[in-house]
Amino acid sequence: MVGVVLLVAVIFIAIFAPLIFANTPWQMVQRPFLAPFAMESLPLGTDTLGRDVAAQLAYGARVSLLVGLVSTLVALLIGVPLGALAGFYGGYVDEGAMRFTEFFQTIPNFALAIVLVAIFEPTLASITLAIAIVSWPPVARLVRAEVMSVRKREFVDAATLAGLSKPRILVRQVLPNTVSPIIVMASLMVATAILLESSLSFLGLGDPNAMSWGYMIGAARTVIRSAWWLSFFPGIAIVITVLALNLIGEGLNDALNPHLSRKGKA
């Protein structure tokens, strides 16, 4: 519940950032290094170039959430079909798909993301894609495992017996039964993606035209001593969002797991 409220708040701020703040986050509006709460119109102070930190935070939410959501979506789009086919058809399909997945898993994923972003050059699209590319293998594995176990369940046999075709069984009978763990995983992946984007930004591999939280922290680390608020606020923003997503993930986990919901975690 807390998670949902927090997340909705963040999303709200992200969507309405242009309405709340008249200036773009790049606009230099005041003298640099204005401390937070020193000036009413600039509640969170200004950064090294005199830009409004509050506006940056709001606009940053857009990028961070966008990267998180889209990369998760892309990862699901790669991982779910691959895992589903591998798990359902087994044999060579499985072998091939899993070897392919293994390639991506043997390269440490942060390192791979760095290389990918460097190769494609950091733009919002390439960063999102790189994060998706490093995050899909666990999805594929999870879906595969789930599909494999669901495939062995007897209702699949029953459907076969009813004369349904294989693709139809996969889509209509098997996949719907793998949805809950995927949803739970996805909520955690969004969180991880936001962290990953911020880490890339920190290393200077962010999109220079997109204001994100990671960018803010990366830009602020050199002045962490003299202007604590510049890295503190975006840091807190990331923590809150990731926390919210985690809480939602755990909530879903409990809600979707009949064993746990029955126990009632009062």
Partner: protein, 537 residues
């Protein structure tokens, strides 16, 4: 005789949202030294709760509301945790319902037994081992030296159950609580375990509270019987009193519904075969990955049989003898390694995938596990109509037929819009039957189609099947491990052992004049066989 345990006015409260406020209400009972008290009753009547309350192992949210349980002059329900701990395992022990999961899978059997001594600080290290070994011998586990170092997965279900018993008996408790310790076991293993408990009672004079729903078992071992329903004791008395002269309506109904050993009259069978199986073989190979040697199981080994049109062929045999595999091969959910399966004259193996799909409707199956065979995310209507619609029957028509079938199996048409989890086990099994019938099959493989049913509902379903057989000339391969049920419904019976067909013949031949040693053993192992004979007489 002295009273070992006396329960007085026990009431156990259930948490909010449960189906009733109290799991058990105002229950009293007493067990004398060396006596076996059988607690019977319908599923969910509070038998396990009573047992768990005695052990202090009630699940969270479930609490003792009133009453006391006097054991060794103390009220065990109100002992502090520390004293309860000392009591558990030492003077009061319990055997749980499910032997497959009741042992720690990662610990050697020996260690799990030794642990009991350790928990109560008895004996020295080496003595404990000796004792454990002795116990294993006592419960007649084969090759004790090996068993003591084995892990649970290396043991069969019956062996695990015996290991459990060994643990329960380790400290020679005064009271043994056994909660349906044999439901998961096949008849032969069940018989061994019952004998063991009787022996031990003799030797050690311990009191036993035995929970079961099987009247055969009651007849075999009980001194006293208590019948429970909806959390209340509805009848009590000595075994003979209750079995032969039941007072309460519920008890009477229970006893009436028990399939009798009475054999139906033989019928004239048609000549045209609905199913012909020739030289069928299926070998399962498992493992063979990293670190694992390949393991072969000959699940079905050179089996030939035919089912005629309108015939019900019973397939019996102990657990793991290959019955389900045979059934699945017949509907071609499993591809055989050899042999032929002809359904209504066509060889399913000769068909292409696409043609096979079109022919599927001819043979249908009622699955052994009704819950698993229903998609938890699909409404019942979908589950039943998927097949017919794929066959090309218009949706409207298919749905109308589905409602009709649901009525026929006694569920009511409104069941169609519910999800599987909203039904009880027995209801689900009937949905499975309706689904099979919806395809207008010529042959139904009914795999333990009535095992999950209460005796009374069981009778209802058997009636339905008989009726269909008559009306539609439906052939049925009726797989069961319950010989009594088989006797009631089947025309002929086939007996399987370790993948082989050991005997096949009319019901009368098999029951009255079994040819094979194995068949005789199966028949003899049916619990309460003697009492049953009387009933049949």
């Amino acid at each position: 005789m002295s009273t070992t345990l006396s329960i007085e006015h026990l009431t156990i409260g259930l948490p909010e949202g449960a189906d009733r406020p109290f799991a058990v209400e105002d229950v009293s009972m007493a067990i004398e030294k060396g006596e076996i008290l059988c607690v019977v009753g319908e599923s969910g009547s509070g038998k396990s709760m009573t047992a768990n309350a005695l052990m202090g192992l009630l699940p969270p949210g479930v609490n003792v509301k009133a009453g006391r349980a006097m054991f060794e002059a103390r009220d065990v329900l109100r002992l502090p945790e520390g004293e309860k701990q000392a009591l558990r395992g030492a003077s009061m022990a319990m055997i749980f319902q499910e032997p497959m999961t009741a042992l720690n899978p990662l610990m050697r059997i020996g260690d799990q037994i030794v642990e009991v001594f350790a928990a109560h600080d008895r004996y020295t290290q080496s003595e404990r081992r000796e004792k454990a070994l002795a116990l294993i011998r006592e419960v007649q586990l084969p090759d004790p030296e090996k068993i003591i170092r084995a892990y649970p997965f290396q043991l069969s279900g019956g062996q695990r159950q015996r290991a459990m018993i060994a643990m329960a008996l380790a400290l020679e408790p005064k009271l043994l609580i056994a909660d349906e310790p044999t439901t998961a076991l096949d008849v032969t293993t069940q018989a061994q375990i019952l004998k063991l408990i009787l022996d031990l009672r003799e030797k050690r004079g311990m009191a036993v509270m035995f929970i079961t729903h099987d009247f055969g078992v009651v007849a075999e071992i009980a001194d006293q019987v208590i019948v429970m329903r909806m959390g209340k004791v509805v009848e009590r008395g000595s075994a003979t009193e209750v079995l032969e002269n039941p007072q309460h309506d519920y008890t009477k109904r229970l006893l009436e519904a028990i399939p009798t050993g009475k054999l139906p009259e033989a019928r004239q069978l048609s000549e045209t075969p609905a199913l012909e199986i020739k030289g069928l073989r299926k070998i399962y190979r498992t493992g063979g990955g990293m670190f694992k040697p390949v393991r072969e199981v000959r699940a079905v080994d050179d089996v030939s049989l035919t089912v005629a049109r309108g015939e019900v062929l019973g397939l019996v045999g102990e657990s793991g003898s290959g019955k389900s595999t045979l059934g699945r091969t017949a509907v071609r959910l499993v591809t055989p390694d050899g042999g032929q399966v002809m359904v209504g004259g066509t060889d399913l193996a000769a068909l292409s995938d696409e043609e096979l799909r079109k022919q599927r409707h001819k043979v249908q199956m009622v699955f052994q596990d009704p819950y698993a065979s229903l998609n938890p995310r699909q409404r019942i209507m979908g589950a039943i109509t998927d097949g017919p619609i794929t066959r090309g029957i218009p949706r409207k028509e298919a749905e109308a037929r589905a409602r009709e079938l649901l009525e026929i199996v006694g569920l009511g048409a409104d069941a169609a819009s519910r999800f599987p989890h909203e039904f009880s086990g027995g209801q689900r099994q009937r949905i499975g039957i309706a689904r099979a019938l919806a395809m207008d099959p010529e042959l139904i493989i009914a795999d333990e189609a009535v095992s999950a049913l209460d005796v009374s509902i069981q009778a209802q379903v058997l009636d339905l099947l008989r009726e269909l057989r008559e009306k539609l000339e439906l052939s049925i391969l009726f797989i069961t491990h319950d010989l009594r049920v088989a006797a009631q419904l089947c025309d002929r019976i086939a007996v399987m052992q370790k993948g082989k067909l050991v005997e096949i013949g009319t019901v009368h031949d098999i029951f009255l004049n079994p040819q094979q040693e194995y068949t005789r053993k199966l028949l003899a192992a049916v619990p309460g066989a003697d009492w049953d004979q009387q009933g049949a007489a």
